[in-house]
């Protein structure tokens, strides 16, 4: 049962990305292009997402286990590291250049766009470079 719910959860998340306009890179770029003709629509994705997710996180706030007895994993780190800021700055740069962030890129990959396939492959390489070379060297 919980496996079916997990699959459906990913599906709902993806449908939300499609309906919101996040899977259209041109729209994402018009949202980030405040120097051109600005399309502020995607700001509302964040409003809607936070409003609903907030209720969900409130619901699990004082719980340690789900109804299926799984531990609830919430990030416990509060440290503001330079990695957090530099990593996020790099991510924002890539997001603005292609108009894809990870979720919408995977959805567009599923829709069969070869551009999304190229982007996702490069993204996986980028993740691997970080996890296997960069992080290891830093330790």
């Amino acid at each position: 049962m919980k496996n079916i719910i997990t699959f459906v959860t990913g599906l709902i998340f993806g449908l939300g990305l499609i309906i919101s306009g996040m899977t259209n890179p041109d729209k994402v770029i018009r949202f980030l292009d405040i120097g051109g003709i600005w399309d502020p629509s995607l700001m509302f994705v964040m409003f809607g997402g936070i409003a609903v997710a907030f209720v969900g996180f409130k619901f699990v706030q004082n719980k340690s286990q789900t109804v299926f007895d799984d531990t609830i994993h919430l990030p416990g780190t509060t440290h503001i590291s330079k990695e957090l800021v530099i990593g996020s700055l790099l991510f924002g740069a890539g997001w603005a250049l292609a108009g894809f962030c990870p979720g919408p890129a995977l959805v567009a990959l599923g829709a069969g766009y070869k551009e999304a396939f190229i982007f996702v492959m490069a993204m996986i390489v980028g993740m691997t470079i970080h996890d296997h070379f960069f992080k290891v060297c830093g330790k």
Partner: protein, 150 residues
């Protein structure tokens, strides 16, 4: 700087509705599975070769299969909205590398920090969200209006 709004393409209703579905998906995942719907973390964890990631591969895989099949499910009910991609192949590769590396270094993306983190009132996620929004605006401006590469 003069701000001009693109009213013809302003779609606050569908953006809000889509956002609410994204929030609903995130809420379901934490309530029923106890996990954060951060796409970069889920994908990064799935391809992680470390054996400590093994016990998490099932839920991560199932979530991503659901995500990737959403286009197929959508077009059973309505024509799929087009993804207009103007970036060249070179730009796609460079941007993909930045997004992959940056989201792993910053431990999250638009979903994990921007939706889930902010919903949890995490200061860390607020800093991350401000950082990627800031560089998104700046790089977009440089790319389109200074380098004029768009």
């Amino acid at each position: 700087m003069h701000l001009t709004i693109y009213w013809q393409n302003f779609t606050p209703g569908s953006a809000l509705l889509g956002g609410m579905l994204i929030g609903f998906g995130s809420a379901l995942l934490v309530i029923f599975r106890g996990k954060i719907a951060g796409i970069s973390g889920i994908l990064g964890g799935l391809i992680d070769t470390d054996s400590t990631a093994n016990s998490h591969r099932l839920w991560r895989g199932l979530f991503l299969i659901g995500l990737v099949s959403s286009s197929f499910v959508y077009q059973l009910f309505a024509p799929l909205p087009e993804s207009n991609i103007s970036a060249s192949f070179g730009t796609l590769i460079f941007a993909g590398l930045l997004v992959g590396f940056g989201t792993r270094m910053g431990a999250g993306c638009t979903s994990g920090h921007g939706i889930c983190g902010l919903s949890r009132l995490s200061i860390r996620s607020l800093i991350a969200t401000i950082s990627f929004m800031f560089s998104g605006f700046v790089v977009c401006y440089l790319f389109l209006h200074v380098l004029r590469m768009g």
